[in-house]
Amino acid sequence: MPILENLWIIPLLPLLGSAINGLFGAKWSKKSVNIFALGSTGLSFACALEAVREFLGYFETVHHGYVKHFVDWIVAYNDLRIAFDLQIDHLTVVMLLVVTGVGFLIHIYSTGYMAHEEGYYRFFAYLNLFMFFMLILILAANYVVLFVGWEGVGLCSYLLVGFYFLRHSAAQAGKKAFIVNRIGDFGFMLGMFLLFRSFGTLDFQTIFNQAATWPPDAMGQFGTLTIACLLIFVGATGKSAQLPLYVWLPDAMEGPTPVSALIHAATMVTAGVYVVARSHVLFTHAPTAMYVVAIVGCATAFFAATIGLVQSDIKKVLAYSTVSQLGYMFLACGVGAFGAGIFHLMTHAFFKALLFLSAGSVIHAMGGEQDMWHMGGLSKKIKITYICMLFGTIAIAGFPPFAAFFSKDQILFAAYNLPDAGKALYAVGLLAAVLTSFYMFRLVWLTFFGEKRYDEHHVHVHESPLNMTLPLMILAFLSLTGGWFAAPSLWGGKDYFAEFLSPVFGVAEAGGGEASASLEHWLSVVAVAAALAGLGAAIWMYNKKVERGTSTGLHKILYNKYYVDEIYQATIVGPLVWISRKLLWKAVDEGILDGVVNGLGTGARSIGDTLRHTQSGNVRSYAVWVVMGAIVIFAIIFWPILHPALFGGAR
């Protein structure tokens, strides 16, 4: 099994592509850069396919995940052994195919989108570097290697969001992304430390095998596992943009659109969901943590949807949509439906990437315009983009037979079935679904229908080239068909996707037979009705000549994202900066440290100033000093003779 034994080749290929492009690409033509960038990612995808094939064959005989030990990295006496281990199991298979597949499509798209940009080679170098780290993250067999990938994708996010670094807002956004991520990473690290302390290792297999034998914590009890899970979830909050650490994602739209598609829709932000799913053994032993995850996810889903209702920048709408959909994934994990969460992750990757890339196509067509209030009536002009975007929107709204219908449905059903708070979670989730449908169709109407609100002389609307529309079409196809794995369960058949993941997550969460099946049917009907409601409201409001109104009252609050950024600035960022400036800089650094150092200098000088008076130039004074010295020497020499007599002792 060549690939399986050399799993490292899958992440290494993009790394090579990144290194070559980064070091040499500045002087090359776009074609050469493309060869390395697309070639490495494509090869990686091919290797991933082969690895999946080999793994499935391997699993037939061995029935557990494949772990390959490579090099020992940190060896501290006998307490800490961390190695570059990679593993592959069914969950990894899903993630691997999504990351490499969608990644490859986005690389192809970028060759068209970024064709006129400065720093073309740099973009692909960063993009490949991102692929490397993401693959490390999902192939990792222990928390530390995962964290390496985790940090690395954060770094690449910074690099890519701040790609147009000459723009101040882009640089600020890059910093914000990295710093807010860091806050989450701190929680993640604390979680890792706690896990190490409890289990003595950070290896997935070992921890999960051991933890499975532990008794679960009771609800409300903050045992070790609960605290560790909560800390890891803090990290996931940062990386996957949930409350309260979501603020970087909308700002991250400063980056080029392919970046938004790849990193902030399909892959990096899903790393948090992946970690929670990977640690499901720990989470299922910590019901309090699961509750927290579910509530945060649900709240975020609703919260972000409300903000997305009124945004005017096409990418910002999609950004808040991403935050909202990630909330759904965490809701799924929180209620124990890990498989459903991963399913939604996969379908979301398809349709969100599709939506972002289509938006990029629109922006490209409009010559860089991103404000929807300056668009309108584009459906006839850019047909392919319009159709693809429509596919994506129908998918996200949750209409069957498109992909998200199945995944979102599973999540809401699992939420509904949760004892105690399940109904409330379901209600909020359903409401968020209505809002989702509404604002996505609003986006479509504002952009593609109605009167055109731009000046035709300045903007020449043109369809995108093939290297951009081909990935769109592939993703549109996947958005349609991606959910069909689970479709048979609707009419009593098997849910193939859940079955595929069952070696990881255990047998499917849904139990209960006939009554629950019909409940599920009813709930799916309600979900479709919700989507229709949203669609109807959007048509009613926007299928006419519309103008941007003034923003007042509730609209103003939503448009300004509940002023969360301003609140953070005032309560956290502002005081921190104040402390850094006034306290640490002025008081500590200048006052104390400089003061000590300068004080030593000044002190030495003043001592010298005092002592110089001995150098009076007067020879007679010097003579006196000589005599004094002579007295001291004599006293020392004659001391044995003098001192017994001084005290009157015997000789």
């Binding site: 004074s621 006196v624 005599v627 002579a630 004599f634 006293a635 004659f638 003779i641 000789r651």
Partner: protein, 166 residues
């Protein structure tokens, strides 16, 4: 009181007198003459102790050469009476106590250890000149040669220093 003791006290008194006079005189030539007095009395004391050679050397070299040199220099530089400047407060206040302390320490040490010295040998028992020369040319021959070198250097130095500028 043996004769030796009397002579000792007389000579000692003369020496101390000369030293005190050296301090108290205002004109350097008077101080020079007082120093000559001190040296001659010391030569007498050496004779009393039986060190004839040293006594002779003292008179010839010290009294006859060094002091003559001093007197000549005083004449050359036309040294007058001492100026009464007093710029050094330290010397004014600490001078006498320190000098007394120094002398006191030495004197105290001497007195405290007086029991340890062997009694003086009879004056003839130490045959001075012959023993002295024996020692000088055997054990101390190196320092002896070096001192001759030293004198050469001193001569050269003195000549170079005192030349008139051309």
């Amino acid at each position: 009181m043996s004769g030796a003791l009397v002579i000792f006290f007389v000579l000692a008194a003369l020496a101390v007198l000369g030293a005190v006079s050296l301090i108290l005189q205002r004109h350097p030539i008077h101080s020079a003459l007082s120093l000559i007095l001190v040296m001659v009395s010391l030569a007498g004391l050496y004779l009393l102790m039986g060190a004839e050679f040293i006594a002779a050397v003292q008179i010839i070299v010290y009294g006859g050469a060094v002091m003559v040199l001093f007197v000549f220099v005083i004449m050359l530089l036309n040294a007058g009476e001492e100026e009464r400047t007093n710029f050094s407060k330290l010397a004014t206040f600490a001078g006498i106590p320190l000098a007394l302390a120094l002398g006191g320490i030495i004197a105290a040490a001497i007195i405290r250890s007086s029991g340890h010295l062997p009694p003086p040998a009879a004056s003839g028992a130490m045959s001075s000149t012959r023993d002295l020369s024996k020692l000088l040319f055997s054990e101390f021959v190196y320092p002896f040669e070096l001192t001759s070198f030293l004198i050469l250097v001193a001569i050269l130095g003195a000549i170079v220093l005192a030349q008139r500028e051309n």
